[in-house]
Amino acid sequence: MTNSALTVSGLRKAYKDKVVLDGIDLDVPAGTIFSLLGPNGAGKTTTVNVLTTLIKADGGTARVAGHDVATDAKAVRAAIGVTGQFAAVDELLTGRENLQLMVDLSPVPATDGKRIVDDLLERFELVESAGKPASTYSGGMRRKLDLAMTLVGSPQIIFLDEPTTGLDPRSRRTMWTIIRDLVADGVTVFLTTQYLEEADQLADRIAVLDQGRIVAQGTADELKRQIPGTHVRLRFATADQLDAAARVLADATRDDDGLSLRVPGDGGTRSLRLLLDRLDEYALAAEELSVHTPDLDDVFLALTGRQTETEVAR
C-alpha cells in the first residue's frame, strides 16, 4: 500500500535537440509539500506541465493521484489544481466573476457555487475587491485570486509554479501562510521555486533540478548539510585575539587580513549557542558576528559546479 500522491520515474522530454528533462525520478507522499528547486531553464515548468497533462513526456512514467498522466489524463485533471507561473486570471472579469467562472467550469453543483465563492473571497481577504476587475489588482492580490481559483474544485494535489516570483516580501509571506494552511487541510502541494529560502520555509522535501536532472534530493536540513558554505564569521579587534580564538576553534578557517575566522555550522541557534558558549568559556569576545547562509548560487556551485565545467569543456 503506497501513500504517494505523485510518483515519477525516468521522465524525459526534449524539444528538438535540446534535452529539457533527462530522466527525472520523484516520489511525493500525500499530504506533504514538495519543492522542486532550480534556476530558470532547469526544467521546472516543463516538469509541472508534464505532471498536469499539459504536455506529453517523451519517456518515463508519471502517476498523479494514482492515475497515469499519459493514459488517464482525465482522471488526473479531476484530482489536481494548477497555478501557473503567470497569474492566469481573467483581467476583464471581477474577482468574484473569476471564481464563479471556475465554479461554472468545474463539476461543483451550482447550488454550492455561491457559498464556495464567498468562502474563498473571505479566506483570501478579497471580499473588498471582489467587485473590481482583476486588472486593477496588485501582484499579490492577483496571485491570491489565482490560487483561490485553483481551489474551487477542492483538488487533492495542487501544483504551484513559482507562486511568489515577482512578489514583494510581505505578499510572499502571506502566500507562504496560505500554502501551509493548504497542507493542514490534507492537500498535497507540489511547488517549484528558484528561492532556497522558500523551499526551506515550506517544503517537507526538496529536489534540486539542474539542466533537466535531479542533482540532490532530501529534507531542507539534509540538503543544507550537502552544501558547504553555511558558516559564522567572527571578526576580532586584534591579531592576538584572532590567534587565541583560532586555537580554541580548531575547525575554523582564518583570514589574517580581515582579522576574522570562518566557523562552519548549520546556522541554527543551537550551534550558534555552542559557539558563543565556547568563546565565553575562554573569555574571548569578537567585534562582530555574522551568519552566512548559502544562497541558491552557492547551492548550485556546490551541487552542479563540476557538471557545468564539463559542459564548458565540451
Binding site: L54, A78, L92, L93, E97, L105
Partner: protein, 249 residues
C-alpha cells in the same frame, strides 16, 4: 459533463469581455455607423451609382459591420492563448471546441448587434429597401453565415499570431477587403486591375447578394457563389484553427 454547458460558460465570458472593452464596442458597433454617416453625408453625392446612395451603400456597410467586429475577436483569442488562462481551462478539461466555439459565437452575436444597429441608423437616414419578409430572412441568413465564416477565420488568425497586438493586426486585411469590393462604389468604376480584383474577390458576391435581397431582386447565381465562398472560408478557418490550437496548447 458535456461540451455544451462549457461552451455556454465560455460564450458568456467572451461576451462580457466585449461589453467591457470600450475599444471593442466602438470598433464593432459604432465604427460602421460612423463610416455610414461619413459616406452618405460627405462622399455620397459625389458618387453616381444610379440609385439613392444610402440604398446602394447600406448592403456594403452591412458587410463592413461584420468585418469591423473581428479585430477584437482575434485579440481576445490570442490573449487567452498567451496569458496562461488556456492552461487553466485545459487542466479543468474544458474542450478545444468549447473555447473556440465560445469565441466564434460571441463574435457572431456581436456582428448581429452591429448589423442591426447599422440598419436601424440607415433607416433613420432614409434607407428604403424593397425587400419582402422572405428577402429579409435571406439577409439575416447571409449575415449569420458570413459572421460564422469570418469568425472561424479570425479565430485561426488569433491562434496563429505571436501576440495580441499582432493578432489585431492580422485581422486588418479582413477589415480593408470590403473597401476593395463593390461595397462603397461599383467595381466597374475602379481602375484596371483593381476592378477585376474587386469583381472576383469573395466579398463582392456576398455584398451583391445582400444588395439584391434588400432591393427585392435576389439573384440565385450570385447567392450560390456567396454561400460557396462563406463555406470555403469557414472550412479553412475551422481546420486551421483546430490544427493551430493543437500545436500551440
Amino acid at each position: 459533463m458535456s461540451a455544451t454547458p462549457h461552451a455556454l460558460v465560455m460564450l458568456r465570458r467572451n461576451f462580457r469581455h466585449i461589453a467591457r472593452n470600450p475599444t471593442a464596442v466602438f470598433n464593432a458597433v459604432l465604427m460602421p455607423i460612423i463610416i455610414l454617416l461619413m459616406f452618405v453625408y460627405m462622399f455620397g453625392d459625389a458618387f453616381d451609382v444610379g440609385v439613392d446612395y444610402i440604398d446602394y451603400a447600406t448592403p456594403g456597410l452591412v458587410l463592413l459591420a461584420v468585418c469591423y467586429g473581428l479585430g477584437s475577436t482575434a485579440t481576445a483569442v490570442n490573449s487567452d492563448m498567451t496569458k496562461g488562462i488556456i492552461n487553466r481551462f485545459k487542466v479543468m478539461d474544458v474542450s478545444r471546441s468549447a473555447v473556440l466555439t465560445g469565441h466564434v459565437v460571441a463574435s457572431l452575436l456581436t456582428n448581429v448587434v452591429a448589423v442591426a444597429a447599422l440598419i436601424g441608423v440607415a433607416f433613420l437616414l432614409g434607407f428604403s429597401p424593397a425587400a419582402s419578409p422572405l428577402d429579409w430572412l435571406g439577409v439575416a441568413g447571409m449575415v449569420v453565415l458570413l459572421g460564422f465564416a469570418t469568425g472561424w477565420l479570425t479565430v485561426a488568425l488569433g491562434l496563429a499570431a505571436k501576440s495580441p497586438e499582432t493578432a489585431g493586426l492580422a485581422s486588418v486585411p479582413l477589415v480593408m477587403l470590403p473597401f476593395f469590393s463593390s461595397a462603397i462604389v461599383p467595381a466597374d468604376t475602379m481602375g484596371p486591375g483593381l476592378a477585376q480584383f474587386a469583381e472576383y474577390q469573395p466579398f463582392t458576391p456576398i455584398i451583391e447578394t445582400v444588395r439584391g435581397l434588400l432591393a427585392g431582386t435576389p439573384s440565385l447565381g450570385t447567392a450560390l457563389v456567396a454561400v460557396g465562398w462563406c463555406v470555403a472560408i469557414a472550412l479553412v478557418g475551422y481546420l486551421w484553427a483546430g490544427a493551430t490550437f493543437t500545436k500551440r496548447a
